[in-house]
């Protein structure tokens, strides 16, 4: 990987992380709880309905579909960003 493309990848990853955090913060009371290592269901106490709605919004933002089995593997914000990167690669 060239220095340039890895810088591009890092920028893309940052964009994904900030969109995930933005979407999460709009759904929790305490925004300071949301960072890369936040466990989405355990740390934020989000119920399954809120998580589903959150996933639908992310699907719209990134123009991807996130299959249920992929969602099941995700725990943290960083996991989710990684899953989205993989799905974007698969789609292109």
């Amino acid at each position: 990987m060239t220095a340039l493309s890895s810088a591009g990848a890092a920028a893309a990853q940052n964009d994904i992380l900030s969109e995930i955090k933005k979407q999460l913060i709009s759904r929790v009371e305490n925004a300071s709880l949301v960072n890369e290592n936040t466990n989405i269901t355990r740390d934020l106490g989000l119920d399954s309905l809120t998580v589903m709605d959150f996933i639908f919004d992310l699907e719209d933002s990134f123009d991807i579909s996130i299959p249920m089995e992929r969602i099941a593997e995700v725990q943290t914000v960083a996991d989710l960003a990684q899953a989205i990167i993989v799905l974007q690669k698969e789609a292109s």
Partner: protein
Amino acid sequence: MGIFDQYKALQEQHAALASVGQCPDQLQFDDIISPTEATLNGKPTILMGTNNYLGMTFDEGCVQSAIDALKEEGTGTTGSRIANGSYNGHKALEDELTAFYDMDSAILFSTGYQANLGAISALAGRDDYLLIDADSHASIYDACRLSDAQVIRFRHNDPKNLARKLERLQDKPGNKLIVIESIYSMLGDMSPIAEFVAIKKKYGAYLLVDEAHSLGVLGEKGRGICEHAGVEKDVDFITGTFSKSIGTIGGFLLSNVPGLDIIRLASRPYMFTASPPPSVVASARHTLARIAGATDLRERLWANATQLYTGLQNAGYELGPTLSPIVAIRLKDAEKAIALWNGLLDAGIYTNLALPPATPFGWYLLRSSISAAHTPEQIAKAVDICTKIGLELELITLSNSRATNGTSAVNGASETPPCATSETEPTVPPKTGDSTATA
């Protein structure tokens, strides 16, 4: 750590419910008197939450046909059709289902849950895609777990969201199977099926429709939402249950796609459970034979639904978006929802209490299902009691309540009945839903 410790939160929720009154899961009727009446804790109770849409459970012919079958063929089949062979009634019922729906083939399952589980898991294989509505019944969610296919959810009753998802899959090889329901079991809202059919055609996907709550309820001949919307020839698979309008138990899968029978050798929920017993098959056959001609019952059912829906709406309650035989009061406050449900029970009205996450938007639902067998007097009484308790609990106020007695609710029934042939206007905008596995 004990083996039940994983259920701590569930136990706590249950205990909280038990501490303020009765528990939905522990109700035990002393006597069932008719499709609409029972005795509960010694008290005469009107049944308003039994999915018994046509009131067939006590139909004399149904009961007699079951008795005859019991005497002739015994109490059970004691095995699956694959292992132990079929009885005459199994094949006859399948033939009668294909004739009723005018479709090519039918497969009987032991319940509607297993029909969804067995059909969906066997139809969608490893390289395929399942696209399911977010508000799907638990049997559809469980089918997805049993299937090797990738599962993608779309927003509830949102054909555009589905279209975007199919668009993204266009270059992927596998088959795409879309799964929707007809009348959704929690809020009674209806699927915009014609729009789904258009999308399925555009993207070359298969479409499966679960007619659980619409068989006998929608369509001129009572075949359900596909008949009602005039899209029967465009739907690839139909599943359904005998546990609601048919008044017994069992499920089925129907299709015009050639070669359906192979599912019998591939579907685990078909192969590894006992087939329906002769008495159940006999009463299902008896009722099914009556459905097409039961226009009178359907008219009664929709008039009753109108009376309950408008009665509760006039009282000031927020209901599901569409008038249908499933009438759900939407409540935000858990304690008041539980109090209303208990208050109704104490006053002799049985409804269903549905709690998140089995409900859309995290609502607490007081769900009732109306029957053709209800009398206008029973419904008026239910509306009156519901209004009275609602006012006490301050769930509704006199100012937002346009009618505080059942008499006006009865009059509501004579206003333009929606009947099975016309879509009713949503009274709240149909929003996108987001529940996980409605129970």
